[in-house]
Amino acid sequence: MTANSKPKLQFDRFAWFWRAPALIWQSAFFLAPLALVFAMSFWVVKSYRLTPDFVLKNWDRMLTRDYFWTAYLYTFEVSLLVAVLASVIAFPAAHYLAFKASPTVRRWGIFFLVTPFFTSYLVRIYSWKIILSNEGVINVMLGRLGLGPFELLNNMTGAVIGYLTLCLPLTIIIQTFALSNVDRSLIGAAQNLGCSALRTTFKVTIPAARIGLILAATFAFILTFGDYVSPSYLGGGSPPTMSILIVDQTKSGNNWPRASVVAVTMVVTLITVLFAALFAAYGRPGKAQ
């Protein structure tokens, strides 16, 4: 082949033309900023100027404060809650799309689930803010029935509604693909042997789709853990989440090193959760698919 007839060690301009762009761009604008966040957590602010250094002061300052750990635990717990909620809410819908819906319905379903992913999350949260307010549609309608008004904003209810808006579409998509790939003959066999529909779902379908279901929950966790908009605009910012701490330290506190400490803690947590999830999905030895 002509392409391979050149001596191997010669610089292959064609190959590098296609290989280099991602390497250069992501090194400069992705890896470097991330490395900087890590490095900055050891820097100091001297008379309003960021100065490279190697001190543990920022870490010490943050990790010994109660509000940091309160924020950390709250963020972790609410992300876990949303991962479970989103998975449970999504499952019947994904099951329906994967097994019961006609191909046309499934295609439209997936279309409606992919679309929110590319349309403004910010705008959707604004819309919820109005709907959920005391004068909003829900409380007005409940008021006509003589109920309420219910406090749906500036608390965890509001934040969770926002998180679900963010996570549900992706959760349903991943679950639908996972369920679509389950071998139908397994399900047929279980039912032929007299297994009830519910029992088949829990004993056959869910174990067979385990990897996708775990991944779906993991993505819900990751999205929730890093989100700033729902906790601040629907949740009212109290208790603060890790993301709110970062914004406070950056925007009003102007203390980038401390914001970096929070950011590094988040990244480490997310990587740990991701590996734990991958281990749970793939790594259990001795269990057949």
Binding site: A15, R19, W25, P92, K100, Y121, I246, M266
Partner: protein
């Protein structure tokens, strides 16, 4: 059995209603004459649309967002294509970490990317410029472009390019005459999808744009103030633009064998 299908169908409809409610309500109340976007209905009005078209900060933000997403769409699609082609055609040492770097950015919370880019761009004096927003958006958009184009390349037989080379075509000519035409639907899809992602992105933009507010950053600022149907009107416009781009993208991405 059929009862099982019925409740799952109802549940699915409810879940979709939950996902689509904020969008429907947003658009619906953008035409409401009342000052507060809620029931009872105060009559049909285009007042809020008129108000935002007359607002200079909104117009400026809109124009900046258009510039940013046009730049991002082209550059991210080029990088995405180059990476997808590299993955399709070559095996080399370090390919795994290479692909990891190329694919990972969307898994890092944008807030953390925003913080990193803010400090990085401030060192090279780019904070407060539109270029900083553009550079940052390309980082998160290129992986989407790569994924879309890679899926299309997966359907191209690996023997087609060597066939052209054996017939005497140079690798550049083969790329231009064979590979790119084959990928064209996914390239168009990628231009639309990356433009949509960039047009909606507010976190990186909020951190690095300074006073050069893009439209979503403008919306973020408005969100911190009073509720106003003007935000419904801007939101509806933003929504229609991104849904159009997303729909174009999906239309082209799902096209099969149309250029063969």
């Amino acid at each position: 059995m059929s009862r099982g299908i019925a409740w799952q169908g109802v549940w699915t409809v409810l879940v979709f209603a939950f996902i689509l409610t904020p969008i429907a309500s947003l658009v619906f109340f953008s035409f409401n004459a009342d000052r507060f976007p809620s029931l009872p209905w105060g009559g049909f009005s285009l007042e809020w649309y008129r108000a935002i078209f007359a607002d200079d900060t909104v117009r400026a933000g809109f124009w900046r967002s258009i510039q940013v997403s046009a730049f991002v769409a082209v550059v991210a699609t080029f990088i995405g294509f180059a990476t997808a082609y590299t993955d399709y055609r070559y095996n080399f040492r370090g390919k795994m970490p290479y692909l990891a770097i190329a694919a990972l950015p969307p898994t890092v919370p944008v807030l953390i990317l925003g913080l990193g880019m803010l400090s990085f761009f401030s060192m090279v004096n780019l904070v407060g410029t539109l270029r900083a927003v553009m550079f940052g958006h390309v980082v998160i958009c290129a992986p989407f472009a790569m994924a879309l184009i890679r899926m299309r390349l997966a359907d191209m037989s690996p023997d087609i390019e060597p066939a052209a080379w054996n017939l005497g075509a140079s690798r550049w000519a083969t790329m231009w005459r064979v590979t790119i035409p084959w990928c064209l639907p996914s390239i168009i899809a990628s231009l639309a999808i990356t433009a949509a992602v960039s047009f909606d992105e507010f976190m990186i933009a909020w951190f690095v744009s300074g006073l050069e507010e893009t439209l979503p950053v403008r919306i973020l600022a408005l969100l911190q103030g009073q509720v106003s149907p003007r935000i419904n009107a801007i939101g509806s416009l933003v929504f229609f633009i991104s849904i159009t781009l997303a729909a174009i993208g999906q239309l082209f991405a799902s096209r099969k064998e149309s250029t063969a």
